[in-house]
């Protein structure tokens, strides 16, 4: 855990928020593979075992179905489990309890199901097809789950706190490429940030870029570059996919009349399809151009750098697309 939250990385911000919630609420515990004595594969929970003990920092066998279902049972009788999946890729092992136990229990019975599932996801670390996946779309289709995808250390903290306090199963996806590459701009606030509120992270006139997670930083960098050519890009960070803040997206598109959606998940039925469809339903007559999606190719994520770079959206492609849409 960092001692000075003013220098907190994205990863440390996740740890700070979890630590604060475990301090605040004795019903919150963390469970997963290697989260205790090892401090987690990425060290989010480093020091937690010493501070909170094995009762609240629970090392499990390699049993995703088992510990996800365990979290459901504990939540049903009043605890607030935080489940760590070592990599989002392994969440497929827990598909059954997430879909059939967690997601629909409240609708079936009225019993709250406050489970937060943390999972590091995404590419750019040359980790290959089964350690680089973006899993949000599998779960966005399922009624009853909330999906949170913070793009900054500040949001990582505030949104995790809200996820833990929420009475629903929440999938909180941490972009592992950002873990140690992003630092907070100031001290991390441990105030909750409400789920379902998007943020205009850069104002612009000519085109709206709707994105989340690592896409926010790609988008901001490219927007600065395009500004020099007189193209003004508005960047909207949706922050939570479910619930989706349609109003903020639509208001931005009504202003710019052009929209590009960016994510690093594969394009076919990626969450960009939902955003693009929502924009055309809600703001069709405000559009000067069709909504364009920038996403990964419809292939698995390769390992070797030239191959992975060919699959995941790259800055040049994003800049070119924004330029084209803004000027067309």
């Amino acid at each position: 855990m960092p001692t000075d939250s003013g220098t907190a990385t994205y990863l440390e911000a996740v740890g700070l928020a979890l630590d604060a919630e475990m301090d605040r609420d004795p019903d919150v515990f963390i469970i997963g593979e290697d989260v205790g004595q090892f401090g987690g594969a990425f060290k989010v929970t480093k020091g937690f075992l010493d501070k909170f003990g094995p009762r609240r920092v629970v090392d499990t066998p390699i049993a995703e179905t088992g510990f996800t279902g365990l979290a459901a049972g504990a939540a049903l009788v009043g605890l607030r489990p935080v489940v760590e999946f070592q990599f989002a890729d392994f969440i497929s092992c827990a598909f059954d309890p997430i879909i059939n136990v967690l997601a629909r229990h409240h609708w079936r019975t009225g019993d709250p199901m406050p489970v937060t599932m943390r999972a590091p996801f995404g590419g750019r670390l040359r980790a290959g097809p089964t350690h680089s996946q973006s899993v949000e779309s599998y779960f966005a289709h399922v009624p009853g789950l909330k999906i949170v995808m913070p793009g900054t250390p500040e949001d990582a903290a505030g949104l995790l706190i809200s996820s833990i306090r929420d009475n629903n199963p929440t999938l909180y996806l941490e972009n592992k490429y950002l873990y140690r590459r992003l630092k907070a701009k100031g001290p991390i606030s441990l105030d909750p940030i409400p789920l379902g509120v998007a943020k205009v992270v850069r104002e612009g006139r000519d085109v709206t870029l709707v994105t989340y997670s690592a896409g926010v930083h790609q988008g901001l960098e490219i927007a600065e570059e395009l500004d020099k050519d007189g193209i003004s890009v508005e960047v909207v960070d949706v922050r939570t996919l479910v619930p989706l803040d349609v109003e903020t997206i639509v208001n931005s598109v009504k202003k710019t009349s052009r929209a590009v959606v960016l994510h690093e998940a594969a394009k076919r039925l990626g969450y960009g399809a939902e955003i693009a469809a929502t924009i055309q339903e809600e703001a069709f007559w405000h559009l000067d151009q069709p909504v364009v999606r920038i996403a990964a190719l419809n292939t698995p994520t390769p390992t070797s750098p030239p191959l992975e770079d060919a699959v995941i959206p790259q800055p040049a492609q994003i800049a070119e697309t924004l330029r084209k849409v803004a000027r067309a």
């Binding site: 515990f29 009762r55 629970v58 499990t60 066998p61 049993a63 995703e64 179905t65 088992g66 510990f67 996800t68 279902g69 365990l70 979290a71 459901a72 049972g73 504990a74 939540a75 049903l76 009788v77 009043g78 605890l79 489990p81 092992c93 059954d96 309890p97 059939n100 136990v101 629909r104 229990h105 409240h106 609708w107 079936r108 019975t109 009225g110 019993d111 709250p112 199901m113 406050p114 009624p143 009853g144 909330k146 009475n167 629903n168 619930p243």
Partner: protein
């Protein structure tokens, strides 16, 4: 109990377990709920045949000694994670027969208000988990309930049931693994009724028994005659005491026979005739009634009265369920998310 070794121990006996010096009120209560379970299910079979129900009907004929025998070894504040053969455990806990019928009819008064149906009728206010169809998905949930009890320093335990077919799934293996390394107060009860839908035991497991699997998880495993209510009750009580004392989980296998199809639509013509013949002589309700009559705990007239009361109760339950309203679809989008 602390000295008890890990592994299998057969409790199967040639004759039914004797009543000994047990509380006669408890014995009569177990009998009453076994009879009620049978009466409600017989009534519901008639309802299925008469077209009262929406889909199929899953019954627990010949599971009454397991469902009531095991549930009666718990305290009301213990957790229960039953399956579709365990109506007796639900009734023991306070579930009303009309609620179960309403569930199979999609009525507004079912425990899920018609959103879920058929066998999905658990109630958390009775400490009963309402499971999805993916049995034994209730096993990991049961470890969570037991985990919460231990987390809070309570001495509550959780009893979860599954079938012989369930033992092949990851949920079973992962739950028993986690429960044993975490020493959770769980009792895992396998209702071995010879068939997983149409799949016979020989295609489900090559183990000598399901109880034998306990040794691999480092917990006690015991195989009991699942038609003998007191054998089931005793084995469960022992496992409950162990769990309550903080000594960890246990596995129990109760051997019985699925005397109806997987559900009522299933003629089960794949079942070996010899099994039906063998088990037709081992009706758990009759067996237990005879034990009580022989021991002088119940007389023949009293037993008759229990049966008649149960029949009337089931008739009244059907009447209520039939008269209950269907749900209003107006609020169908409410409650996808909790506030």
């Amino acid at each position: 109990m602390a000295t008890r070794t890990t592994g299998t121990r057969s409790r199967r006996k040639p004759a039914a377990t004797a009543v000994g010096d047990r509380d006669p009120d408890l014995l009569r209560r177990i009998h009453k709920f076994m009879v009620l379970t049978r009466a409600v299910e017989d009534r519901m079979v008639a309802m299925y045949k008469g077209g009262d129900l929406l889909g199929s009907l899953y019954t627990g004929h010949w599971h009454e000694a397991i469902s009531v025998g095991a549930a009666s070894a718990l305290r009301p504040d213990d957790y229960l994670a039953p399956i579709h053969r365990d109506l007796g455990a639900h009734l023991w806990r306070g579930m009303e027969p009309w609620q179960v019928m309403a569930s199979f009819m999609g009525k507004a008064t079912s425990p899920t208000g018609g959103r879920d149906g058929t066998l999905h009728y658990g109630r958390l206010d009775l400490n009963i988990y309402n499971l999805p169809s993916h049995i034994p998905a209730n096993f990991p949930v049961a470890t969570g309930m037991a985990f919460a009890a231990k987390y809070r320093g309570e001495d509550r335990v959780c009893l979860a049931f599954c079938g012989d077919g369930s033992t092949s799934r990851a949920d079973f293996h992962e739950s028993l693994t986690i429960a044993s390394v975490q020493k959770l107060p769980n009792i895992f009860f396998i209702e071995n009724n010879q068939y997983a839908y149409s799949t016979p035991l020989r295609l489900t497991s090559a183990s000598e028994s399901f109880a034998a699997k306990a040794a691999a998880y480092g917990m006690p495993g015991v195989k009991v005659d699942g038609t003998d209510a007191l054998a089931v009750h005793d084995a469960t009580a022992e496992a409950v005491a162990r769990a309550r004392a903080g000594e960890g989980p246990s596995l129990i296998e109760g051997v019985t026979m699925r005397m109806h199809g997987h559900a009522e639509h299933d003629p089960a013509d794949y079942v070996l005739k010899e099994l039906y013949e063998e088990y037709s002589k081992k009706d758990p309700v009759e067996l237990f009634e005879n034990v009580l009559i022989e021991a002088g705990v119940l007389d023949v007239d009293a037993a008759k009265q229990v049966r008649e009361d149960a029949r009337q109760y089931a008739i009244a339950a059907r009447r209520k369920a039939l008269a209950d309203p269907m749900p209003d679809p107006g609020d169908i989008e409410d409650g996808v998310y909790a506030d």
